[in-house]
């Protein structure tokens, strides 16, 4: 057990985590040169393209240290985005140590700090690694200062490397061996293994990734999942060396996979503890928290014929994504679809992207919403995340919305614009402190709903790319919530309704109205587009009627041409959604619903 090291790499996005992982794998001969590809741990196309890690991944490396000793290094790759922080937590719990990767040019960023706090929360030993020292703009001394002042770590323990060029990789490996502690635990104790991720395999069912804390996992034994209280028989255990390598057991300290005939990832919970049914541990491992969706959106197929395909695609995605929730939903304008819950906007984006790419579906998504808590006049409490289910405002006594604590780091010169941005987004208790000369960390308590749409893009814009952002959920706070309806010729378009704070209702409604006016083709009559709260109109645009639409000549040969053209246009109309006798093309919904992220 003394020769095992379980560690992860934590970093701000773009600081080079996947590249460092690639180099460590290559250095330890974990992969044949010809099989190697960049970002090897990121198996999804989306992960590679966006340079992000969505699913946790794990690889066991065999490293012969300079002292001649063979070590087993378990690198647990963690997702790098706040949406997936529950997975990050689980991964951290499986480690004894962490490499904290810092870009030599960028220095310490918001996520660096957030990740460090997380790592410390789980008592991990942290070794700072300064990456990208080959960059002309690298300033190692300045980063050392930040490590000292911002992070409170020993700057002279920091290892220097350039993952891109492969320099300093040996030093990183030696630091893992010598500065990170081996796992503790008793292989004879009652079994406690933490499930930190799971993948669905079409042939084998659910493959759980776990860290054995106490006891030993063996094939043939009956295990119990302590939170879900279900029992299964272990079929196979093994190590992950980029492929699954069967082993005869996983003893305390080990990281590996378990296959136990489990059908879907829904049957298990990430963070749950595996114990033995025969001799169960008295307690599950601490820190279990259910991953709850916080962002909701309805997904409709562009063509109503694709509903069945969408249903199947969601079923399949969900096999491997326990955090994705979905239930049937329907809209008069858009037909049948699903109300889906996501961990955050990136999660939503990823699911949407995968549905499009891997399943070839064209989709429409309604405006994302958070989940609100409502107190009704009879004293009962309900939650609402779907505007169509919003009760009559007369029966609502009070509403509350989720707040987050945002941590934003940036060079000092942007503090004014960022504070203004937070103020615009209804931020409260905005404070800041100087981390170092010229660098500021600002924290603000913001409604999650305000961050959903374009906060991150705006932040990047106003700070010219220098601002970094991280957040955690805080609590629910009272809010003045209204439902904004969008009416086309006085008829509400249900798919465009949304729940917003009263102060934001008018600008939002106006933006929707304007986008619709741009995209709905003119018709033979004037079309009024309105935004309304209840019966009160708060925004309005008009689409003027066609005034001239006729071909000058229509004789012998023109007739066929004319008929075909009009037929084609009519066929286009058939695909439109009719609301209030107005034909609304799909493109109008797309434009409007995208408008949220445009601006």
């Amino acid at each position: 057990m003394n020769t095992i090291r379980n560690f992860c790499i934590i970093a701000h996005i773009d600081h080079g985590k996947s590249t460092l992982a690639d180099r460590l794998i290559q250095r330890c001969g974990g992969v044949e040169e010809r099989e190697f590809r960049d970002q090897i741990l990121d198996s999804m196309d989306i992960e590679r393209e966006r340079g992000i890690t969505i699913k946790s991944n794990t690889v066991t490396l065999n490293y012969k240290a300079q002292d001649g000793q063979e070590y087993q290094l378990n690198l647990i790759d963690t997702p790098g985005h706040v949406d997936f922080s529950h997975e990050v937590r689980r991964s951290l719990m499986s480690c004894e140590g962490a490499l904290l990767l810092i870009d030599a040019a960028q220095g310490v960023e918001a996520q660096t700090l957030a990740n460090l706090y997380l790592a410390l929360e789980y008592d991990l030993e942290v070794v700072p690694v300064i990456n990208k020292i080959d960059l002309p703009s690298a300033d190692v001394e300045k980063v050392r200062e930040e490590i000292d002042e911002d992070l409170g770590l020993d700057p002279y323990e920091a290892v220097l490397c350039s993952a891109k060029l492969g320099t300093g990789i040996d030093e990183v490996l030696e630091a893992i061996v010598h500065q990170l502690p081996p796992p503790a635990g008793d292989p004879e104790a009652p079994l406690q293994a933490l499930i930190f991720d799971a993948q669905y395999d079409a042939y084998r069912g659910v493959v759980m990734l776990c860290r054995v804390k106490e006891g030993t996992l063996r094939p043939g034994e009956t295990i119990r999942l302590m939170h879900t209280e279900k029992e299964y028989e272990v079929e196979e255990v093994g190590l992950l060396q980029l492929k699954q390598v069967k082993a005869h057991q996983l003893a305390a300290g080990a990281v590996g996979y378990v296959i136990a005939g489990i059908k879907t990832v829904r049957d298990i919970a990430i963070g749950d503890t595996i114990t033995a049914a025969e001799r169960p541990a008295p307690e599950p491992l601490p820190g279990y928290k259910e991953a709850k969706p916080v962002v909701f959106s309805s997904i409709y197929p562009m063509s109503t014929d694709d509903y069945e395909d969408l249903a199947k695609a969601l079923d399949k995605l969900a096999l491997n994504d326990a955090a994705l929730t979905y239930e049937k939903d329907s809209s008069t304008a858009l037909g049948f679809g699903f109300r889906c819950g996501f961990l955050g906007l990136l999660h939503l984006d990823v699911v949407q992207e995968r549905l499009k790419r891997e399943y070839g579906l064209s989709l429409l998504l309604s405006a994302p919403s958070v989940r609100y808590e409502l107190t009704l006049e009879d004293g009962s409490e309900i939650t609402v995340d779907n505007p169509t289910l919003f009760p009559d405002p007369n029966h609502i006594d009070g509403a509350a919305e989720p707040f987050i604590k945002a941590a934003i780091m940036m060079p000092e010169r942007y503090i004014g614009v960022v504070m203004e941005l937070c103020r615009e987004r209804r931020g409260v208790n905005t404070t800041y402190n100087y981390l170092a000369v010229g660098r500021v960390e600002l924290t603000s308590e913001l409604p999650l709903a305000e961050v959903l749409f374009d906060f991150y893009d705006k932040l990047k814009t106003v700070t010219q790319g220098y601002g970094s952002f991280d957040y955690e959920l805080l609590d629910y706070r009272p809010t003045d919530l209204v439902k904004v309806d969008i009416l086309v010729n006085s008829e509400p378009v249900d798919a465009l309704a949304q729940l917003v704070h009263r102060d934001k209702a008018r600008p939002r409604a106006l933006r929707y109205c304007e986008k619709l006016a741009e995209t709905i083709p003119r018709q033979q009559f004037k079309i009024a587009i309105q935004g309304a709260i209840g019966g009160k109109i708060i925004a309005r645009t008009t689409i003027n009627a066609y005034r001239k639409d006729v071909t000058a000549k229509c004789y012998g040969g023109d007739i066929t041409r004319k008929r075909k053209l009009l037929e084609k246009q009519k066929a286009g109309k058939k695909k439109m959604k009719v609301v209030g006798a107005v034909e609304i093309p799909q493109s109008a919904f797309v434009a409007v619903l995208k408008a949220d992220t445009d601006n």
Binding site: R547, V550, T551, C554
Partner: protein, 392 residues
């Protein structure tokens, strides 16, 4: 001459003295020898129809004689009188043609000279359609016409004095930046001479024409829609005041007897036979068309083959939709009862909401069993046609 139940005959004579930058018809220039060879070939095509046979298998050849003949193009007026005579003689030899056949000829102002007028009268032309386009020089210049404003006047005057049953002037409006006043002035100049018929075409920049290219390059812009609508309504209202009935989107006559009997057939699905390159024909459930360009058309005929390029079979729904499209372009509108009995669609009850809305908005009205577009409705006839659903 209002009821012409027989089929119509159209000859496409594709020669022009020059090619106008807005024209998207199939036309070419050619010397008299070239024209003679063309007429020889046309006569060969006519001969293929000897005995009244229509060239497309399955097309129901009508039994009645042809009672309208339209000489179009191109500019038939540039053909020498003897070529026209030869052509008509060939027609009479090959096809059943009514003694009272209504004959129309398109003429350019520069060809309107007394000798030609006499010859056309001799041929039996009763409807002379003059391509004057404008009475104002700057407009003619813009349109690339070879005749002068003076010739526009002169030719119309001469034609009106030559004893045709109907003389029509073709006018073009909606030139870039054209004002209401400018267009109304053209109309006034036309009316002052007293034609019985006017065709007023709104200028369109067709793809593939010099104007089309200039538009695509951003050098020319069509009038904005609002201005187009204004000129369209001005045309119909102004001419109505002057006792011209706008019986179709672009056609106006001082009385039903002066309407274009031949064009009427296009709009109510009366059979018609088109001969010459690019000519279209229609009978029953078929529409077919000749090779568009003169060369392949000639080659086919020289080899003794039919010059028909392609045909389409029209389903009852196609026919019903065409009927609707075309009727909504005419002042007579659509006879709802006849539409129901022929196509089995009760248009109004199948489109209650739309029809109601269009009536309330003053775009259509129902008048003695007919669905009739109002003037504002005519201006958006394409939109109207799209608004109705004719599938059961």
């Amino acid at each position: 001459m209002t009821a012409n139940p027989g089929p119509g005959l159209y000859l496409h004579l594709p020669f022009c003295s020059s090619i106008c930058p807005y024209c998207d018809f199939y036309v070419l220039t050619g010397d008299p020898a070239r024209q003679r060879r063309f007429v020889d070939t046309l006569i060969a095509e006519i001969s293929l129809c000897t005995g009244g046979r229509w060239p497309v298998v399955g097309a129901e050849s009508p039994v009645e004689p042809f009672d309208t003949l339209y000489l179009g193009g191109g500019t038939p007026s540039i053909l020498a009188a003897e070529e026209l005579t030869r052509t008509l003689e060939a027609l009479h030899r090959a096809l059943p043609i009514d003694d009272d056949c209504w004959i129309s000829l398109e003429a350019n102002p520069e060809d309107v000279i007394p000798a030609n007028l006499d010859a056309w009268r001799q041929l039996g032309v009763c409807f002379l359609s003059l391509g004057v386009q404008s009475f104002q020089q700057q407009n003619l210049d813009f349109l690339g016409r070879r005749h002068t404003a003076e010739q526009s006047h002169r030719s119309l005057e001469l034609a009106l004095g030559a004893g045709f049953h109907t003389v029509s002037a073709d006018l073009i409006y909606g030139l870039p930046d054209q004002s209401r006043e400018d267009w109304q002035h053209d109309l006034e100049l036309a009316l002052a001479l007293g034609p019985q018929h006017l065709s007023c075409y709104q200028l369109t920049f067709h793809h593939g024409t010099p104007f089309g290219f200039r538009k695509e390059r951003g050098e020319l812009a069509e009038l904005p829609e609002e201005a187009q609508a204004e000129l369209f309504l001005l045309t119909h209202r102004f001419l109505a005041e002057k006792a011209f009935e706008g019986y179709e989107v672009s056609n106006f006559a001082t009385g039903p007897e002066h309407r274009s009997c031949h064009n009427q057939k296009y709009w109510d699905h009366t059979p018609y036979l088109g001969l010459g390159p690019s000519a279209h024909s229609f009978a029953g459930h078929h529409r077919w068309w000749n090779r568009r360009k003169i060369k392949p058309w000639e080659t086919r005929l020289e080899d003794g083959e039919s010059p028909v390029e392609s045909s389409e079979h029209l389903s009852p729904t196609d026919l019903a939709f065409e009927r609707l499209i075309l009727a909504l372009r005419t002042a007579d509108g659509l006879d709802l009862e006849s539409f129901r009995s022929v196509y089995g669609v009760d248009l109004l009850s199948a489109n209650l909401e739309v029809a109601d809305r269009l009536q309330v908005d003053g775009l259509i009205r129902v008048d003695s069993g007919c669905l009739v577009p109002t003037t504002r409705g005519l201006a958006i006839a394409d939109t109207l046609a799209r608004s109705f659903d004719i599938t059961e």
